[in-house]
């Protein structure tokens, strides 16, 4: 098959046979075990070297704080999750759409693509101020920043993926009388899919960054807000607790995207 310009994303097929035998449940158990081990080591190190809580609190203290006042963390989690999801979904759809459009309309691409690049050179912080002016302190302001960080890699990779189509494959389908639309749905888009998922996985973490940074411009709920509050009140435990919740959100979201990839791009082994 044609060599794709970027590294191929999918899990290597040969991978670890033992891991595949474990199944998703086994993998989850393994992940939890590793996490527990890290927490245990962390706890031990803090106690052993007498590290002051100001620098690094013990994980048990952090977890206790989470359990004692879960409400703000759950609220923050849900709020930031919705911002991330809306930003990610709109950015992914827009990015794929623009990729398709640029692929079909070369003139448009030469006209608009440079603007896309310029837009990405603006630091997200500067852009965030504008977005708050436009949307106010709404959920959509945060989603807009997540969108801003998301759409560009998706556009670029969609375009790359579409252009990696084997011309001989295209000639074959054309010889069967395929229309441009049939070529798109039956050949070009599926060929681009692995490449698109590389960008989606990247975008999943970028969208979270966008949402959290967006919250710093002012809001009352959200993980970013909790981080700011923790910083101002020097509540180190709260900062760490928020960090853990953010990590949970980020990892979970990434895992969901990677899982979707494994299902949708099941042929990834070939190429």
């Amino acid at each position: 098959m044609s060599a794709s310009p970027l590294t191929h994303p999918a899990v290597t097929p040969g991978g670890s046979a033992a891991l595949r035998l474990l199944g998703p449940l086994g993998r989850l158990a393994r992940g939890l075990a590793i996490l527990l081990a890290v927490f245990a080591a962390w706890e031990a190190l803090v106690v052993l070297f007498g590290i002051r809580p100001y620098y690094l609190p013990r994980p048990t203290v952090i977890l206790a704080a989470l359990v004692q006042t879960p409400a703000p963390y759950i609220q923050g989690f849900l709020r930031t999750l919705s911002e991330t999801l809306i930003g990610f979904a709109s950015g992914a759809l827009f990015g794929i759409g623009m990729g398709l459009l640029f692929f079909r309309a070369r003139a448009l691409r030469e006209l608009v693509f440079p603007l896309f690049i310029v837009s990405q050179t603006i630091p997200v912080i500067a852009f965030g101020a504008l977005v708050v002016l436009w949307f106010g302190n709404t959920l959509f302001a945060k989603a807009a920043i997540a969108f801003y960080l998301t759409f560009f890699p998706v556009t670029v990779n969609t375009l790359l993926g579409l252009e990696s189509v084997d011309p001989r494959q295209e000639a074959l389908l054309r010889s069967f009388g395929a229309s441009p639309l049939q070529l798109m749905t039956r050949l070009q888009f599926p060929t681009a899919l692995p490449q698109i998922f590389v960008a989606l996985r990247l975008a999943s973490s970028l969208a979270l960054v966008g949402a959290i940074v967006g919250e710093w411009f002012g809001d009352t709920v959200g993980l970013g807000v909790l981080l700011l509050q923790g910083m101002y009140t020097e509540n180190v435990v709260s900062i760490w607790a928020t960090l853990l919740v953010s990590a949970l959100l980020g990892t979970g979201f990434y895992a969901a995207v990677a899982g979707a990839e494994r299902v949708l791009v099941f042929w990834g082994a070939e190429q």
């Binding site: 098959m1 494959q169 054309r174 009388g177 039956r186 099941f266």
Partner: protein, 299 residues
Amino acid sequence: MTIGHSGLARLAAAPDAASASSAPAGPYLLEMKGLSKRFGSVTAVSGFDASIAPGEFVTVVGPSGCGKSTLFNIVAGLEEPDAGSILRFEGKGCHAHELLGKVSFMPQRDLLLPWRTVIDNAVIAMEIEGRSRKASRAEARDMLPEFGLAGFGDQYPHQLSGGMRQRVALMRTFMFKRELMLLDEPFGALDALTRTMMQRWLLDVWRQHKRTILFITHDVDEALFLGDRVIVMSARPGRVKLELKVDLPRPRSAELVTSPEFIRLKRIVLEAIEEEAMKSFLASGAAAPQTDAMPEVQP
């Protein structure tokens, strides 16, 4: 695979009247006259003349880079020949692009879509035509055994061997029911043993489905073994160097290739090819020769 040759003696597959060189404008399926194609400063094909009668199996051999693939791309409708070329299909003059969707084309590589099962790869041409998916799938399922793919209908291409992938590609070509089939070195990438099996199998399938086949190959044995007629192409720019009727009995079995008659024909073709291979070798200077015929050169 079904490679039985018992029964069925000498099916008159070859159109008897098609004495190639001197035939009048008969009821040909495809006629090419003065076919030429330039790419920039390179003339790939120049003044190519050939006609193919319905039901005929015509093989095309030639040194590498002789414009065989350009020729095929024109007949498949993918490339327009230069002005002055005459292309007639089913008795009517036409542009190459009008042949899109009218000719069943199989390129060198199997080009299976990795996200489609064997069945779904086989029916893609019918799907593009807008035929019902269900009906074409059922038809494909019935055809699996004939193509040696029984039980593999729901596998994905990466689960198949090279020979099987090639058979899926052939099945796809056969399922796109067009009178004329273009096969561009379909067995080129297979090992020698699989290759001879596939050749005999192709003859069986051809006999049963009654199609007209234009078959490109590098391999003189293959060209003679399969064809009713062999067209030897010249070095670039490609035109017809030699046209040879292969009057060997059908059905053809493996021993045929050692028969004196086969050897006689092979000598004629090899001589013609050697001359051309030499030309293209000299023309390409120190570049790698890649001519299959070279080692078998006879003085």
